[in-house]
């Protein structure tokens, strides 16, 4: 196991090794510098931490349980699988940890309007939720394809008082929603806070979102130590932009624990219709940071594909790119069909309906667990619940 010191990154300009940074137009640069300063100021402020953790407890319902999936583990006949139940957090996914932190920061900076991009709609719902909680105006950019396949979340956002702005450019998915949010922000920087939903985007977003999400790993680490007296052998989490995985991984980064990030292989890597950015991308700049990107030889960004809207993204957070290069994390990929199978298994074996995103992590656990000993522990991040996916799942599984 590599000795990996977490304090050494990002550097003061937001670089994770060769990745990260701030690649944006000049109109946004001063806003990012101001945001960075505000974030580091608030991070020093005990009253912020108190309020953040108080809300995580009383509003979000943290700590979320760490659940030993015994029937599934026995069925697989290998490692003991524990599920970190982010699906039980308020709004049904881990995304709320981050939106709560950013909304507190927005309030601290005196901004009364927030915008967000969303793919699966979970980040949009989580942003709309905290906007309602703090009395802020909220606009969410969402691709037209995603509006179709995640219709329930669109209704939830509207009920919460947010305006959902359809984005039809490109493939009408997460990348296009983020393009449009950045354009809108360029024209509204003076009074609008942009709540980015993953550990992607320009500095300070990757480090900020990681810090708001690391509560997942901190809880999981103390929960597993308390329950079993030892560390897990392996952590598994799905990777879209990379926030639920970074949140789980980060507090274990100096421990001898294997980390596996799971990307969407869509219809199969060989078909080109996938979202395995770390698995088959190359280094580029997208949405304000340098990282692995799915692109052609001319530097044009390619369209991603996944059955899961939250993983359907041709970029990935810069910290993951660094972890990959340094061998500290391993990145696998799971096809649409394998994710659906894992989805069904969790429903039937444990009585839990997982999000399609999280089903990718589960599918990887189905592969890893049988190869391991019953003394070994795998923690799978169950990043969200699957209610939003019933329409798509019904098309494929015909239940």
């Amino acid at each position: 196991m590599l000795n990996f010191k977490s304090e050494t990154y990002p550097d003061p300009r937001g670089h994770f090794g060769p990745y990260g940074g701030r690649y944006v137009g000049e109109t946004l640069m001063p806003a990012l510098l101001e945001l960075e300063k505000a974030f580091f100021d608030i991070a020093q402020d005990p009253s912020f931490h108190y309020e953040f953790h108080d809300l995580l407890h009383h509003y979000v319902g943290r700590p979320t349980p760490l659940f030993h999936a015994k029937r599934l583990s026995t069925h697989l006949g290998g490692a003991a699988i524990y599920l970190k139940r982010e699906d039980l957090a308020h709004t049904g996914a881990h995304k709320i940890n981050n939106t709560l932190g950013q909304a507190l920061l927005a309030r601290w900076m005196g901004k009364k309007k927030v915008i967000a991009e969303t793919g699966a709609g979970q980040h949009g719902v989580a942003t709309a939720t905290v906007a309602a909680l703090f009395g802020m105006e909220c606009r969410v950019f969402m691709g037209t394809e995603d509006i179709q396949r995640q219709a329930a979340n669109v209704q939830r956002m509207r009920l919460l008082g947010a305006e959902v702005i359809p984005v039809s450019s490109g493939t009408g998915t997460l990348k296009d929603a983020m393009n449009e949010a950045m354009r809108y922000w360029s024209g509204a920087v003076h009074d609008t806070f942009y709540v980015i939903g993953s550990v992607a985007g320009p500095h300070p977003y990757p480090v900020m979102v990681r810090d708001f999400q690391k509560v997942i790993g901190e809880e999981a680490r103390s929960q597993i130590l308390k329950e079993t007296g030892k560390l897990p052998k392996m952590l598994i989490a799905c990777v879209g932009g990379g926030s639920n995985s970074m949140g789980l991984f980060y507090p274990f980064i100096e421990d001898p624990v294997e980390m596996v990030g799971v990307e969407a292989a869509g219809k199969g890597i060989h078909t080109g219709k996938h979202a395995a950015t770390l698995g088959s991308g190359t280094i580029g700049v997208l949405h304000g940071s340098k990282s692995y990107v799915l692109q052609d030889e001319n530097g044009q960004i390619m369209e991603a594909h996944s059955i899961s809207a939250g993983l359907d993204y041709p970029g990935v957070g810069p910290e993951h790119s660094m972890l990959k290069d340094r061998g500290r994390a391993r990145y696998a990929s799971i096809e649409d069909g394998q994710a659906l199978e894992a989805f069904r298994k969790l429903c039937l074996f444990e009585g839990i309906i997982p999000a399609l995103e999280s089903s990718h992590a589960l599918a990887q656990a189905l592969i890893e667990a049988p190869r391991m000993s019953p003394d070994d522990i795998i923690i799978v991040n169950l990043s969200g619940r699957g209610d939003k996916d019933l329409g798509i799942v019904n098309q494929h599984l015909k239940f």
């Binding site: 109109t27 949405h287 692109q295 044009q300």
Partner: protein, 268 residues
């Protein structure tokens, strides 16, 4: 002296301001685009900005998004834009050519190879929308020399101190963004612009060109009375888009350029 500096010097002597014309290279295809560009240069564009098409132009409004999309669809990429630069240079020995790009296509081309090829093709400068001074050393450190001017952006949001820092790292001219937002948004506030120009002049001697949201000869005249040059992009692209099927497209564009150029001539 390079072509950019020469151009500003010549214009000062003639009491004119620079008309900087932006066009997405290869829109709607390479041969038609070359025809349009030649007409622009013949009709009064003093400095040509060739937009490199990119799949995800996050600083651009709908008009340039669509023009960039048409160019991409006809197969145009940075290699083709460098090739187009070479062709344009054959016809226009003195017009400065600035390549206007997002960073990713340049990164994919390779910073070193790009510098060499762009210079050899006859380009004079480079403006990378999403590469602020904080990140640009990774690019310039791979350049063999500094013969390509690095045009920098200044925004209405840029604080004074930062303006000075950016100006110190710029060459050729400074591109002052007239207002917050993406390209092609309307509503020009010349009062604001003259204020920004004043602030910027207090920290630099470099010529200042103003762009974003300038579309009519009246706009040009209003801005030209304060700035050293005026950039027009979306307005030209809008004309191109509205006349894609019109056989008169080249002469219509030439007419628009002439009207804008006429407005850069000092009247006082």
């Amino acid at each position: 002296m390079n072509r950019i500096d020469e151009t500003f010097k010549r214009l000062r002597q003639k009491k004119e301001k620079a008309l900087v014309g932006f066009v997405s290279a290869g829109d709607p295809n390479i041969s038609q685009s070359l025809r349009l560009i030649k007409a622009m240069c013949e009709s009064g564009v003093d400095i040509l900005e060739l937009g490199v098409p990119f799949s995800d132009p996050t600083s651009d409004g709908p008009v340039i998004q669509r023009s960039s999309g048409r160019a991409l669809k006809s197969g145009v990429n940075l290699k083709a834009v460098v090739e187009m630069t070479r062709e344009i240079r054959e016809f226009f020995a003195h017009t400065p050519i600035i390549l206007f790009s997002y960073y990713n296509p340049v990164l994919a081309y390779g910073n070193k190879a790009f510098y060499n090829d762009a210079l050899a093709a006859g380009a004079d400068g480079l403006l990378i929308v999403d590469l602020p001074p904080e990140e640009s050393e990774e690019m310039t450190s791979e350049w063999r020399g500094n013969d390509l001017s690095l045009i920098r952006l200044i925004a209405p949001t840029t604080p004074q101190e930062r303006m000075a820092k950016i100006a110190a790292s710029a060459s050729g001219f400074l591109y002052l963004i007239s207002k917050i937002g993406v390209t092609g948004s309307d509503g020009l506030d010349t009062g604001d612009i003259s204020e920004h120009i004043k602030r910027l002049r207090s920290v630099t001697q470099t010529p200042i060109c103003v762009g974003f949201g300038i579309s009519t000869p009246q706009d040009v005249a209003a801005v030209a009375s304060h700035a050293d040059g005026v950039v027009i992009g979306s307005a030209f692209e809008r004309l191109i888009e509205e006349n894609l099927e019109n056989p008169e497209i080249v002469s219509l564009l030439a007419e628009k350029v002439r009207a804008c150029k006429a407005a850069t001539v000092e009247t006082s």
